[in-house]
Assembly symmetry: C2
Homo-oligomer: 200 residues x 2
């Protein structure tokens, strides 16, 4: 009756190939044929599974970003201190990069930081991440764990911007990217934002 499951999931194969090719050449510079070749699959099959080249990137982004949103919201729901919540968010993003640098590169470079072209479609989802972080900050201010004279939106943008900038630095080899750098980054970003650079 059933048994229709193919031995290999070609759709997944195409998505994984796309990650590699997008990471290597960038979205605009990759031809659909490149994806098909990398996946070891015929050109037309890409269009069997996806409406367009854009939809492939859409799928990659949505898949990963929803995890990020879930992680942020879960951190927020926890009983931890506001600072620990922020550290959890930073940790999740840094680990995402460490675990799958190519996918994160694609998401950051081609979507998140490409709000003018491709990212435009996803601005609402991207914004949700900012908003969720802002909520953590605002709650922290409510409970006097954070000072209230720095607008929560400003603070959340600064926090997220700092993290994304670090990822960019790693992606483009502007700063060293060893395992210890990743670990340090998690605490240092949070330390910078929460404690500040000036001695206490």
């Amino acid at each position: 009756m059933a048994s229709k499951a193919p031995p290999v999931d070609k759709r997944r194969q195409i998505l994984d190939a796309a990650i590699r090719v997008f990471a290597r050449q960038g979205f605009h510079a990759t031809r659909v044929a490149d994806i098909a070749d990398e996946a070891g699959v015929a050109y037309g099959l890409v269009y069997h599974y996806f409406k367009s080249k854009d939809e492939v990137l859409n799928e990659l982004f949505t898949e990963r970003w929803s995890l990020l949103l879930a992680a942020i919201e879960e951190a927020d729901r926890s009983e931890a201190s506001p600072r620990a919540k922020l550290e959890a968010v930073a940790g999740f993003i840094v680990d995402s990069f460490r675990y799958d640098p190519e996918l994160m590169k694609v998401i950051i470079v081609e979507v998140t930081r490409a709000a003018n072209s491709f990212g435009r479609t996803h601005l609402p989802e991207i914004r949700r991440a900012y908003d969720s972080i802002a909520k953590i900050v605002a709650d922290g201010q409510q409970s006097n764990a954070f000072r209230s004279d720095i607008d929560a939106t400003f603070a959340s943008m600064s926090f997220y911007g700092a993290i994304e900038q670090l990822l960019s630095g790693w992606i483009f080899d502007l700063i060293p990217a060893s395992d210890t750098d990743f670990e340090q980054a998690k605490t240092l970003v949070t330390a910078t934002i929460c404690d500040g650079l000036e001695p206490r």
Copy 2:
């Protein structure tokens, strides 16, 4: 003998038109014909003054970025406190945006945050900005104005990332962009990075 000066500088006219069109449609989506139309100039004239469409963007970026580099290095040379130096840098970038939002949008969106495609060529110049900021931080650590347990490179990336994220927020209408917001941003970014979110 001389008197060859045209009444209007067509080259400049093309550059200014390009700023507007790039800001409106994005670099990839603008055809060279769009630039020529916007400038009120024949298609071919663009190629009289520029080798390629890329070179137009190159020119815009280099023009502006060299000002930024000069401003950072000047801030560094001043006698002010490290914190005041950072505030000067933040102030310059924010003012650049306030004074000419379209140009800054193009530079941030199409170059700085597009390191995979166009920005790749300019990575060295972009990096110089990061390095100059890092030097300010490192000097601050040397003089004990800043704590030394946060790596200067990390800190400078965080600082710059925070600012760029704010610009992105303004560019894409994610956060309010009034004159008071701009003024606040200058001090708040510095306050966040130097003092931290937690109360002192």
